[in-house]
């Protein structure tokens, strides 16, 4: 697996557009088609929302080359009290529906990391 791009970002709403644009750029670099790129953007946003609801203030996002695009997102920084939202379940199901090899790891009952893959 070859690393493409790593970034650590605060989980504020104002940075979501930046993350989506970056994701779109990486998808284009990997040659994913428009539909898959849009799906990937949705998956990244949903993962970040899940981590924010799990109480994380920051996230580490890693894009790597794995016969397609592998995305791994992990909660980072100081963790506050989790505030699960009713939509979390939908976010998780949406990830499963859009991406391949989806893995969600939990720590103390809350989501700690999400990874998924988009095939070329």
């Amino acid at each position: 697996m070859k690393g493409l791009l790593s970034m650590r970002i605060p989980l504020g709403s104002e940075l979501m557009t930046t993350v989506r644009l970056t994701t779109g750029g990486v998808c284009a670099l990997k040659g994913l088609d428009i539909d898959a790129s849009e799906d990937c953007k949705v998956c990244v946003t949903e993962s970040l929302l899940l981590l924010r609801h799990a109480g994380y203030g920051e996230a580490a996002v890693d894009f790597s080359d794995d016969d397609g695009l592998m995305v791994a997102i992990e909660g980072a920084g100081r963790r506050k009290k989790a505030s699960p939202a009713p939509e979390d379940e939908i976010s998780a199901a949406l990830l499963e529906a859009l991406a391949e090899s989806v893995r969600m790891e939990k720590k103390e009952g809350a989501i700690f990391s999400v990874s998924f893959r988009f095939a070329l």
């Binding site: 379940e89 529906a97 859009l98 070329l120």
Partner: protein
């Protein structure tokens, strides 16, 4: 009423009022998912409608005894329907931007002129208002009309389909294309070849193909895109040589 009880009662009675109660309770899921797909060239209202219809269909298919929550069950269903909608839309012929803009301007000018004169404007009046030729007005009006291939041309003159060019190939071209296709198919994996056989040989739908191959429809959709791209590239490579 709890989720389980609601679905069990609906399953037993088939009461439409109960079904509507379930749909209303979970309509927020359709709204949430539709919002995730905004910005891809389709209005939110259209996406919401597609999502809501998928939700209604999903209520009948949900089996409460399988032990998964309805929201978990319905999300992939609704997502799949929205993606199908995008795929079907992308197959439509897109109007050139200039024509699409002119059509919008014509609509606006028609409303204005109707208000001003109290009657529907003529093509000449519209052309004068928009500083374009009458021909452009007529062509733009035609451009947005979808015509069925089965629509009769004139009384007793057959359909549009009958007069479409056949794109007849010479025997040599047929032979060459078959040869190129055989080479291109040999570059595919076993699963990819199975997909080609089922989708384009047996002409099964994506859902039927998915069932036969024991995978999800989403997987078939992705694999199909990949296969078509691969075949195109291989055949273009062959042509270039």
């Amino acid at each position: 009423m709890e989720e389980r009880e609601l679905f069990e009662r609906y399953k037993q009675t088939g009461d439409v009022a109960l079904r509507n109660q379930i749909v209303e309770k979970y309509l927020y899921i359709a709204a949430v998912i539709a919002k995730k797909f905004v910005g891809r060239g389709v209005e939110y209202d259209d996406l919401y409608q597609v999502a809501a219809l998928a939700l209604i269909k999903g209520v009948d298919r949900y089996d409460v005894d399988k032990g998964i929550k309805f929201s978990t069950f319905i999300t992939p269903t609704v997502t799949g329907e929205i993606k199908n909608y995008f795929r079907d839309r992308s197959r439509l012929v897109h109007l050139p931007r200039k024509v699409a803009e002119l059509r919008t301007a014509i609509k606006k000018a028609t409303e204005e002129l109707t208000r001003e004169t109290g009657r529907t404007p003529t093509a000449r009046e519209l052309a004068a208002r928009l500083h374009v030729s009458e021909e452009e007005i007529v062509q733009s009006a035609e451009a947005g009309t979808t015509v069925s291939l089965d629509r009769p041309m004139e009384e007793g003159e057959g359909s549009f389909y009958d007069v479409l060019a056949t794109g007849a190939e010479s025997d040599f071209e047929k032979f060459e294309n078959r040869d190129a296709m055989r080479d291109a198919l040999s570059t595919l994996s076993e699963a990819e070849r199975t997909l080609v056989r089922l989708r384009f040989g047996e002409e099964l739908s994506q859902v039927e193909t998915a069932k036969r191959m024991n995978v999800s429809q989403m997987y078939i959709s992705r694999l199909e895109r990949k296969v078509l791209l691969k075949l195109k590239e291989t055949m273009q490579g062959g042509t270039a040589q």
